[in-house]
Subunit: 343 residues, 4 copies
């Protein structure tokens, strides 16, 4: 049985795991105050084109990262603007609200937030004289790629960055699958993300780490005394070195992007197989998540060789399904699906 | 100059103020442990058709009441379903989120939440196997009347109560203007509200009190150790007797409903004047708030004699405006407007 | 029966009540945007010797005020230093913690916090290299008078102010009974409090208002966007004018201090009566709270004519009790007690 | 250079790491819904003498675990009783307060909380009629071993359990170093902890895991809908399998206790070396943490071969220091210290 349920079903990419295993007996200080972390932070700053002044903070998982970072960025009664389909608005069990902040949901367009919608919201907000009775928008959240596998163009990203800076609020980019997004993009590079986002995180968990996310903040003062906030959120890993080792591996020999390209290439090969058989995707995703409306009969045959998820309830005759590739997907895995699709 | 901006522009109705003044020198225990409060609670329970087991809790203002009650009703990671236009979703500065709870916004229909939408949401929520990653709906919030002055029919209220009980979550009714709603309704009585809502509050501030709201909870165990929660929310009034005195007055000689009927009658008279002059309301409100789209020229003339609010930005030729009546509005006030409208 | 249980057992001082009654029918904007509030703020700034730049915010009750102000002053993971007996540490049901902040309790000395203890704590805190794992002290809270009726000398207050400024954290003074403290002090004036505290509140509830506290903040930027925070805390009164009217009365013809002097004078007369009968106070309070260890037999006789509180459990032969005077206490009330004491 | 700073300076015990490496390519569901977790939970329940009804929840780190569990156990306005030196009161950056709960600090005795102090506090609390204005004690927190390396006897643990059950509040045991405590104890077994604590956690991070803590809750209903609360706290690990693999290894061939005994034996050997050289510990710790007051000259010589922490500031002539052993400490490491001590 092969697996396309999600991108965190296996352990770590061998190069990542090796970094942990090879250094297992080395003793270091805890809480990220070690050379592995220092080295990884340097590599990340360099890959992002940032100076030594930029802060890099390592955390364990995505929800934790979103909740801690946004709690750091937002004023006490500020909320965060996000697409209605955003992970923080739907699938984080209210982690943002638990820390006291409202998610201000705006319409999504193929999973994306439009800069125009954000500008209109911000304009209308301050045009309404009752705004002191309302939750002030204190940041904008997007994910790259989005929940639906779509990605922002450089123009779209720039427009979002512009409107944020016009209103003096930070743009925060959730990069849980950043590597797949960058591999799929024609024009957005890691340096662009680092330049246009005030804060973003480089996702590790879904990109081939055992776990781990790296928050990058060009202006460290946007997240002052952040270690204490992380600790209060339970976001500090005692053996922080593990995060340094993994991100050190990711940013050595271009591993992070290699994994991204691997996942994207296999996803596009799968998409081509479906399209050649006459099945168009219902979302046009260039990344490692592929969404198809398929006849139930085909779904049933595919499920004899592979696991993957329904996207919503099973329909009467056809259903929406999602296939996700990752570092652990192989050419052979795709061939197995192709065999069923063409049969 | 006469005022139609809101229903809390003057002090208290004379009968309410008299209760405070007449008893000013009487000494009592604090925090609501006094005979004025005990008496008012009895009167309220009786008016609601509830037994002595029902809990009545007095608080000072509406936002405070909503935040404290919902914090008491909701589990730690539960949210509250509300219409997107609900006061708690728009105009309480994120008070609900500040206490850790998400407002789950559903579409509004003339300011109202439809039982069908609630049922669909609840059904789909538990049909989605990822629901443990989502904010569980732990209560339903409506206001009677709504932000737009509209009211639920007995059938609509019953349907909402039914769906709540089907899913074992409480229905909470924000009655900031309850008296105006009851006065305007053809079929809903205070006893109906008390029977169909698990918790509701009888609004005082907008109905002619200096301040004060009375939370009614037929099953006191829905809000256990509520005094401590109120205290932690800063919702306990030291001289709690003031709330007892005012609600005692409201529920003596039917004052509460008399005020409701007064405000509604004058609002309807005003509406008739506009309609006869050819201006239809853009929201069909039977209560003390009236919404009209008027030529700017007429608005300007009306503003020479009265204050009232724009409902959104002023338009190029015509604009939306709101008129609110209350206990302090007089027949002469309406006549003054009529004079301008007919001129 | 006469009452010495607390200083909030009756309504409002006649001059305060008159301000509310006389202006009952005047219509104004809500939420404190009215001339009564504007006028009262001017009077308060003037009495405090502050410029027009100083912010004055009105709230309803003490716990609400403490929780809202400290939530505004403290960073997300900062706590507030207070004496172990402080109201916020004992009798506010965890209102400070509910908003996410720790109360850092230091030893009390007759209810007071010593500047030396604060300095030692702050020094040792930053000398401990693990401090980023700890709750950073973000403000110092004291009350004037304290829970035990004691007051700080000008020297003590200056020392506290100095250590706060040395460590760049604000000094916040809870003035629930400020008027009694100022009336009792030999050297501290309202202007001193306004000069030495970064933020303080002038208590109304216990000083003869129906309710209400006035927060004074010489540097308005210490509490930015405070209206929204107040609203989120449920601390905004719709008919905010009531607070303006009452504080307007307090600061007209020196009423606030007159009430303070009245309460203190009667308390000291009562103290003298006890002392002359051979009963020394167990706390040396110069204000309107008096604490005595009395034989149970005397207590029982006093309780035939008056109510007052035990301070802790009743002892086998003698017990600690507290007597509180206020604006409503009369010379005749004291005489009645004197009659029993001397009998 | 050898290291005695803490017990989390190296990676994982080889048997733990092997479980992760050997299963790296196995694909499973995420979020702990996998066979590794199911198996580990069975092993833990069995080792604890608990039935299949008992809940086991895996989390990543200690602060996260304490904050999430206590947030689940405590009512909205309840606090947790703990020794003043408790980790949650000192070194978790206010994580408990961030979720709205007060830490009610009682005196410590060699790092331990005494049942008598708890009983007195609980008795006095409810004897004080103002208790509804106070934070209700909703749980008791202890750690085993304590911050000072000390452990509770079976009698002490039973007494704490008794007083908790007498007042119907849960006893929660932080077992960050549980294995060292059990290895050091003469009479307390894992089954005793499981029987006497309502909830406890088996620490992994400090016991030889890469990370991970296992919360055990005999009555699963004490933590209802706990997955959602964990998610909201950012405590759910996407690749939850890693926790199952590690705890599976811990509870295979008695590894967990073997590590405990290893650390304790080496710590006691080190203690003996100091004692024979005339240096008595200033805390009598039977576990893997050892505390000595040493001449600065000796400290300086020891620091030439090893790293360890000062316990407080360095003194003029002698200083307090702490040595911590762990799975990675070797006999050779101790011999190296012995060489210096005896020199």
């Amino acid at each position: 049985m092969i697996h396309f349920d999600c991108d965190y079903m296996a352990g770590a990419h061998p190069e990542v795991l090796k970094a942990i295993v090879d250094n297992n007996n080395t003793q270091t200080s805890g809480y990220g105050e070690d050379d592995f972390c220092r080295n990884a932070k340097c590599l990340i700053r360099k890959a992002c084109g940032l100076t030594d002044e930029a802060a890099v903070h390592f955390m364990v998982g995505g929800t934790q990262t979103n909740a801690t970072v946004l709690d750091g960025l937002l004023g006490r009664t500020e909320g965060v603007i996000a697409a209605e389909t955003a992970h923080i608005n739907v699938h984080e069990s209210g982690a943002i609200e638990l820390t006291g902040h409202k998610v201000i949901a705006l319409p999504q367009h193929n999973g994306k937030l439009h800069a125009d919608d954000v500008r209109t919201y911000l304009h209308d907000f301050y045009a309404d004289e009752t705004w002191p009775h309302m939750v002030a928008p204190g940041a904008v959240y997007i994910s790259f790629p989005t929940e639906l596998g779509t990605i922002y163009t450089l123009e779209e990203l720039t427009a979002l960055s512009d409107v944020c800076h016009e209103y003096h609020i930070p743009l925060y980019v959730d990069g849980a699958r950043l590597g797949f997004g960058l591999a799929a993009s024609n024009d957005v590079t890691l340096r662009d993300v680092a330049r246009l986002a005030d804060v973003f995180y480089i996702g590790g968990t879904k990109m081939g780490a055992l776990f781990g996310e790296a928050v990058v903040c060009a202006d460290a003062q946007l997240l002052p005394r952040f270690f204490t906030l992380m600790k209060a959120h339970g976001s500090v890993l005692a053996k922080g070195r593990l995060l340094g080792m993994q991100f050190g591996a990711f940013f050595t020999n271009d591993l992070y992007l290699r994994i991204g390209r691997h996942g994207v290439a296999l996803a596009q090969r799968l998409r081509k197989a479906f399209e050649e058989a006459g099945y168009a995707p219902f979302i046009d995703s260039p990344t490692n998540q592929q969404f198809f409306l398929l006849p139930n009969a085909l779904i049933d045959r595919l499920m004899e060789v592979a696991t993957f998820e329904y996207w919503g309830p099973r329909g009467a005759e056809q259903s929406k399904v999602r296939f996700v590739t990752s570092w652990e997907t192989t050419e052979a895995d795709i061939e197995a699906l192709e065999g069923v699709i063409k049969a």
